[in-house]
C-alpha cells in the first residue's frame, strides 16, 4: 500500500462523512432543542432525493433542485411538526419517537405510491462530472463538491445560530425554555422553525447524496442507523459533535474498507461501543439529556 492510496482513501472517507455529518446535524438540532428523537429523519433524506431528482428531470437543472429541495422538505417538516409532533410535547421521549417511526413508514409508502418501487434513475450533473487530479490520485469532482457543499451548509448554520438574533433565541430556548417563555417569546414558534431547519437539511443531504447512489424509497433506512451512530458518538444535541463524529465515522469506515473490507460495516458500531464505554455522553454531549 502506498501513501497516495492512503490519502485517496482518506478523501473518500471525508466525502462519506460529509453526508453523515449533514444528517446528524439535523438529528442533533432537533434532539437538542425539542428532545425529539426523529426516526423520520432518514425518510426526509429520501423524500429530498426524490423531490430533487424528479425536479431535475423536469427542469434539467441541478442548481434549481438545490434551492427547491430544502424549501420543500422544510415545508413538509413544518407541517409534520405543527400537526403531528406538537401535540406530543411534554409526554416523554418515547411518544414522538414512535410517532416519527410511523411517519417514516408513511413517507416511504407514499413515495412508493407516487414514484413506484424501483425509484428514479440519477446521474451526476453535467458540470460536476469527471474526476480531478489531486496530486496523489484522481478523485471524482462531484464528491469534492459534496465536501465543499457540506462545509458551506455547516458554516451557514453556525453563523445563523451563533451570530443572529434568531440564533440567540434558539440557543436560549435549548438552555431553558421556561425563561424564554417568561421573556415573552413564543417558544412553540422556535421549535417549529428548528424542526423545519432540521428536515430541510435532511432533504438537502438526500439530494446531494442522490448522484452518488440509487434513489429508491428505502434509501433512508440504512443511513438513518449510521446517522444515529454519528449523533451518539458526537454527543446528542451537539452540532460540532455531529460534524466531527460524522467525518470520523466516514474515515473509520473508509480505512476499515481498505484493510479489512469484511469488517467495514461493523467498524462504525465498534467505534460507537468504544465511545459509549469511555464517554457515555459522546464527545460533546451534555450528560443527562435523555433522562
Amino acid at each position: 500500500m502506498t501513501f497516495e492510496l492512503f490519502l485517496l482513501q482518506l478523501m473518500t472517507g471525508i466525502a462519506l462523512g460529509a453526508v453523515y455529518a449533514l444528517l446528524a446535524i439535523g438529528l442533533s438540532l432537533i434532539f437538542g432543542m425539542l428532545t425529539v428523537v426523529n426516526f423520520a429523519h432518514g425518510a426526509f433524506f429520501m423524500v429530498g432525493a426524490f423531490f430533487g431528482v424528479y425536479a431535475m428531470g423536469l427542469t434539467g437543472s441541478f442548481w434549481f433542485s438545490l434551492v427547491l429541495v430544502p424549501i420543500a422538505t422544510g415545508a413538509l417538516g413544518l407541517v409534520c411538526e405543527r400537526f403531528l409532533v406538537r401535540p406530543l410535547y411534554g409526554r416523554g421521549i418515547d411518544y414522538p419517537l414512535l410517532l416519527t417511526f410511523g411517519l417514516s413508514y408513511v413517507l416511504i409508502e407514499a413515495m412508493r405510491i407516487i414514484f413506484g418501487i424501483e425509484g428514479l434513475p440519477t446521474s451526476t450533473p453535467a458540470e460536476l462530472k469527471g474526476s480531478v487530479n489531486l496530486g496523489f490520485g484522481y478523485f471524482p469532482l462531484y464528491r469534492l463538491f459534496l465536501i465543499a457543499a457540506t462545509a458551506v451548509i455547516v458554516l451557514g448554520l453556525w453563523l445563523f445560530i451563533e451570530k443572529t438574533r434568531y440564533g440567540l433565541i434558539i440557543r436560549a430556548g435549548s438552555r431553558d425554555p421556561e425563561i424564554v417563555k417568561v421573556l415573552g417569546i413564543d417558544i412553540s414558534k422556535v421549535w417549529l422553525l428548528v424542526f423545519g431547519i432540521g428536515t430541510a437539511i435532511a432533504g438537502l443531504s438526500g439530494l446531494l447524496a442522490a448522484p452518488t447512489r440509487a434513489v429508491n424509497p428505502e434509501m433512508g433506512i440504512p443511513i438513518l442507523a449510521e446517522s444515529f451512530v454519528v449523533t451518539v458518538v458526537g454527543g446528542m444535541g451537539s452540532l460540532p459533535g455531529a460534524v466531527i463524529a460524522g467525518l470520523l465515522v466516514g474515515i473509520v469506515f473508509a480505512m476499515t474498507s481498505l484493510f479489512a473490507p469484511e469488517y467495514a460495516e461493523m467498524s462504525i458500531f465498534v467505534l460507537m461501543a468504544v465511545v459509549l464505554l469511555i464517554r457515555p455522553q459522546g464527545f460533546f454531549g451534555k450528560a443527562g439529556l435523555m433522562s
Binding site: 492510496l5 466525502a15 418501487i117 434513475p121 451526476t124 490520485g137 464528491r143 448522484p211 440509487a214 429508491n216
Partner: protein, 415 residues
C-alpha cells in the same frame, strides 16, 4: 429436578404428536379440495427490498402465462390462478409464505423466488411436501444432489453457466488480470467461483476478491484500492440495486478509463434504474433481452403479448423467466393430464419447449433448464427509444458441456 424435566418432555411430546395429527388432518382434506375448479400456482417473490423491480416484472409476465392458459381452455375445465406473495427477500419469510401457500391456500405448484438464498428455503419446504417448485432465480446449489428432489426444477440460468459464458467472451478480449467486487452472500460467491473456474482454463489471474455486505449503498471506500491494483477487468459480482450503485460509483471514480467493467448478470431492470451513464460500456450476461426478437420468432411473439398487456413496455429478463416458469408447469399439466406432482414432474422431464428464447429442455439428472446465454453491452448512444438499452454481442448456444456434469453435482444416475 431431572425427574420433572422428563415428565415435562413426555407431556410436550404428547402435545406435539397431537398437534401434528390436527395439522395433518386438514392437509389430507385439502388434497380432495385441491382437485376442484382451479389450478393454483403459488408465486413467492421479493416485491419489497432491493430486487423489487425485477420481482414486479416476474409477476407481470407470469400473469400472461396464466391468462394465455385460461383463454386457450385451461385443463379439464380447470382454470389457472396465480397466488403472489411477498417474501421480502428473506429466506425465513419465504419459507413461511410458501408453507402458507401449500397448507392454507392449497396451491398445486410453486413457481418463483428471486435470490440464491430464498429459493433454497422455498425448495426445502416444497420438497418436504412433495410440491413441484420451478425456481426462476439463479443458483448453483438448488440442483446439486443434496438440495434437489424429483420436485425441484430450475428454469433460470445458474451462476456457473452465466459467469462461465461471460468469462469465455470477455477474458480473451480484455485481459487476464481480474479484480472481483463481490456481494458477500451465496449469489456473489457462486458467481466468483464460476468466473474463476472458466478463467483457469483461459489463464486468468485473480488480483483480489473484495467482499462487500449485501445491500451496501456506498462502494467508494473500495475503489481507490481497486484503482491501485490496475486490473484489466473489474467484475461486479452483485445484483439489483447493489449493481446499480456499484456501477455508478465505479464510473464516478473514472475506473472505466483503464479497466473493462463487466458483470456476470446485466439486467434490463438494473440498466433502466441506473441510467445510461452509469452503465456505459459495461458488459454482462443475461438470460434474455427483448431486442433478440429480430432473430428469434418466439421472442417476438412473447414481446408482443407483453406489449399488448402492459401498454407497449417490453419484458425484462427475469420477467421472461416468470413467464416461462409458469408456462412450463401448465403445459406439463396438460401433457400429464393431471395435477398430480409426480405425473407433472415426469411430464416436465419430457418437455421440449420454445416459449420465448429458442429451444430449451430440463436436463434429466438435475432438472436444470438447458438454454442459451446472451452477452450484452450497455448502450449510451444511438438509442431508438427508452427500451433500447443493450447491444447483443454474442449468444452462447445451449450446450450441456458448459454445465457441471451430473456426477459433479452429486447425482448418481444421469437419466
Amino acid at each position: 429436578m431431572t425427574l420433572s424435566t422428563t415428565t415435562f418432555n413426555a407431556n410436550r411430546r404428547a402435545i406435539i404428536v397431537g398437534g401434528a395429527a390436527v395439522a395433518v388432518a386438514p392437509a389430507l382434506l385439502g388434497v380432495a379440495r385441491a382437485q376442484s375448479s382451479t389450478i393454483k400456482i403459488g408465486f413467492p417473490v421479493p416485491l419489497t427490498g432491493a430486487f423489487s423491480a425485477e420481482a414486479q416484472d416476474q409477476v407481470r409476465a407470469a400473469e400472461i402465462a396464466i391468462k394465455e392458459f385460461n383463454e386457450s381452455g385451461g385443463f379439464n375445465g380447470m382454470k389457472a390462478e396465480l397466488l403472489v406473495r411477498d417474501d421480502k427477500l428473506n429466506p425465513g419469510e419465504a419459507a413461511t409464505r410458501t408453507l402458507e401457500l401449500i397448507e392454507k391456500d392449497k396451491v398445486n405448484f410453486v413457481v418463483g423466488s428471486l435470490s440464491a438464498a430464498t429459493q433454497l428455503s422455498i425448495n426445502a419446504v416444497c420438497r418436504d411436501r412433495k410440491i413441484i417448485f420451478n425456481s426462476i432465480s439463479q443458483s448453483d446449489a438448488i440442483n446439486e444432489a443434496k438440495d434437489w428432489s424429483l420436485y425441484t426444477f430450475h428454469e433460470a440460468l445458474n451462476p456457473h453457466l452465466t459467469a462461465g459464458a461471460v468469462a469465455r467472451y470477455a477474458f480473451p478480449k480484455f485481459g487476464k488480470k481480474i479484480v472481483y467486487l463481490t456481494a458477500d452472500y451465496a449469489y456473489g460467491h457462486e458467481m466468483v467461483r464460476g468466473f474463476q473456474r472458466a478463467g483457469q482454463a483461459l489463464g486468468a489471474q485473480t488480483l483480489a476478491d473484495i467482499r462487500h455486505p449485501l445491500g451496501a449503498a456506498d462502494y467508494s471506500a473500495f475503489l481507490p484500492r481497486i484503482q491501485s491494483l490496475k486490473p484489466d477487468v473489474l467484475v461486479l459480482c452483485n445484483f439489483g440495486r447493489d449493481l446499480v450503485n456499484a456501477a455508478k460509483q465505479v464510473t464516478d471514480f473514472g475506473l472505466k478509463a483503464n479497466t473493462k467493467v463487466i458483470a456476470p448478470v446485466l439486467l434490463y431492470t438494473a440498466r433502466q434504474a441506473g441510467g445510461a451513464d452509469a452503465f456505459e460500456g459495461i458488459l454482462g450476461g443475461t438470460s434474455y433481452y427483448w431486442g433478440m426478437e429480430d432473430k428469434i420468432p418466439a421472442a417476438k411473439a412473447f414481446n408482443d403479448k407483453f406489449r399488448k398487456a402492459y401498454g407497449g413496455s417490453v419484458p425484462s429478463d427475469y420477467g421472461a423467466l416468470g413467464y416461462a416458469g409458469v408456462r412450463s408447469v401448465l403445459q406439463a399439466v396438460r401433457d400429464a393430464k393431471s395435477v398430480d406432482s409426480v405425473k407433472v414432474s415426469i411430464a416436465l422431464r419430457q418437455l421440449r419447449y420454445n416459449w420465448y428464447k429458442g429451444e430449451q429442455f430440463y436436463r434429466k439428472c438435475d432438472h436444470q433448464s438447458i438454454q442459451s446465454v446472451v452477452i450484452v453491452e450497455s448502450k449510451s448512444k444511438n438509442m431508438k427509444d427508452k427500451y433500447d438499452v443493450f447491444n447483443v454481442l454474442s449468444v452462447e448456444a445451449p450446450d450441456e458441456k458448459n454445465l457441471r456434469s451430473c456426477e459433479e453435482m452429486g447425482h448418481k444416475i444421469s437419466t
